[in-house]
């Protein structure tokens, strides 16, 4: 697909995932070198190799070359095939690490994707299966990707041994809708999922109680669900976590999550999650910080019209993402203060002209 001389060059191991995603979507080959070349243990990590393998499987015709030392890769993207895929994730990263890039690609596949992933469902680095289900997928719905979109958590798996399993079902679309989301509204409800596996099931309720002690002052509409998994379905290692989200009158969602740490009582974990949620709410905007890149990507791919979205200040990841998007698609965003009159507001309006990305892989039914 990619012609010679059409290779985009990067250095370093950081931001690997979104660069691979952008490469596959844009059809432009990408070469990444100096991957941990100064490290004692140079080259790609096992989870990165695993991710490359997963991307190879959900696409067709993708060529991946890894240098002998593993410090450089070249990816020539093929088409996104979709279909039914099962993948065992290494225990060094959670399922979220793998699912996040897949969520960005799956709507543009040839056939709808039915992906089964096994491994760790919740850890402290990437979005947990719960957050992907309750927050990431609703973000896709903003762009008209909704029918048949589902994530099922079959089994939970806590680090270090995992043992969890999720099923991700994603429909295909021809084109994504242009986003125009500038009113963040006000928070009308708070929802949460608390789970505890292979520990005292009371931990889950203790977390809910502690979270309520912080959040009850704001609104009465709080429902924190204690999710119970038993026996085989609860994975191989003990662990617990609280994932909470706040939804506004206009459908903006902010989320936060905290996972069990050794020697920390469940109450403290819940307080951490609740306070992180308040922090997230204060930052404002229509899109949660962890989902800025996803929303911006879909805005770039949208139909040839100006998409606009209000967000809080971008994160470091988002800044790099915006730069990389420009390299792949040539699209740059206009970023202006959302409330020029209000000195205290740090919210920004991101606007860009969509490239009118059409899913050419799609089989016409």
């Amino acid at each position: 697909m990619a012609q010679a001389g059409n290779v985009i060059q990067f250095s370093g191991h950081q931001y690997l995932r979104h660069r691979l995603v952008l490469s596959i979507l844009s059809g432009k080959a990408v070469r990444i070198d100096k991957i941990r070349s100064d490290d004692k243990n140079p080259g790609l990590r096992d989870y990165e190799v695993s991710l490359l393998r997963l991307l190879e499987r959900i696409t067709n015709g993708t060529v991946i070359e890894i240098s002998v030392t593993g410090t450089a890769i070249l990816l020539k993207p093929g088409i996104i095939a979709g279909g039914s895929v099962t993948h065992d994730c290494p225990l060094s990263r959670s399922i979220g690490y793998f699912l996040e890039p897949v969520v960005m690609l799956a709507p543009f596949a040839k056939k709808s994707l039915h992906l089964t992933l096994r491994g760790i469902t919740t850890d402290d680095r990437d979005l947990s299966a719960d957050l992907i289900r309750t927050v990431t997928l609703p973000h896709l719905q903003l762009f008209g990707i909704s029918e048949g979109l589902e994530l099922r958590i079959k089994k939970r798996g806590s680090p270090p041994l995992g043992g969890g399993e999720v099923q991700f079902l994603c429909p295909i679309v021809k084109q994504v809708k242009t986003l125009n989301f500038v009113d963040s509204g006000r928070i009308k409800r708070i929802r949460g999922i608390s789970h505890a596996v292979r520990v005292n099931p009371q931990f889950s309720n203790r977390m809910i109680e502690a979270a309520r002690s912080v959040l009850n002052r704001y609104i009465p509409d709080i429902y924190l669900y204690s999710d119970v998994y038993k026996g085989e379905d609860s994975g191989k290692s003990p662990g617990y976590a609280l994932s909470i989200l706040a939804e506004s009158t206009t459908g903006a969602i902010h989320c936060a999550e905290a996972t069990s740490q050794p020697g920390v009582p469940p109450e403290d974990i819940a307080l951490l999650a609740s306070r992180a949620l308040l922090e997230e709410i204060r930052r404002g905007g229509c899109v949660d910080r962890k989902h800025q890149s996803l929303a911006l990507l879909m805005m770039v791919l949208g139909s040839e019209d100006v998409g606009r979205c209000r967000m809080g200040e971008p994160t470091a990841r988002t800044i790099q993402f915006l730069r990389d998007v420009k390299d792949f698609f040539g699209t740059s965003f206009k970023i202006a203060p959302a409330d020029p009159a209000d000195e205290t507001s740090s919210n920004l309006i991101f606007s860009a002209y969509g490239v009118g990305y059409v899913n050419a892989n799609r089989t016409i039914a």
């Binding site: 006000r186 609104i219 922090e279 800044i319 730069r323 740059s332 965003f333 970023i335 920004l348």
Partner: protein, 100 residues
């Protein structure tokens, strides 16, 4: 409330994000550090002795690797301000139940 106050003060100089992102070679972390997050005073002090910091980095010491991760590390210290009643009340207007 103290943090909210600080936030107020720094807003005098507004960032031109478009320029920072597309027309500068600053690393993402540097852009954000300049913006100086009121919630992470710790980062600010680190930024001060950055000159010395830069020369040591490449010597592949035992420093922790920066991982490609979506969630930010939650630190108890960073969220301390939410133990303050005034702080908790300051975001009331973001909820439907709060006055405007």
């Amino acid at each position: 409330a103290r943090a909210a106050f600080e936030q107020h003060g720094r807003k005098g100089k507004r960032k031109d994000w478009t320029k920072l992102i597309y027309m500068s070679s600053l690393s993402p972390a540097d852009i954000l550090r300049d913006v100086s997050n009121a919630s992470s005073n710790k980062d600010q002090t680190m930024a001060l002795d950055d000159e010395d910091f830069f020369t040591v980095v490449s010597s592949s010491g035992p420093q922790e690797e920066v991982l490609d991760q979506t969630k930010e590390v939650l630190r108890v210290e960073d969220l301390k301000e939410w133990e303050d009643e005034e702080m908790l009340d300051s975001i009331r207007n973001l909820f439907i139940t709060g006055g405007s």
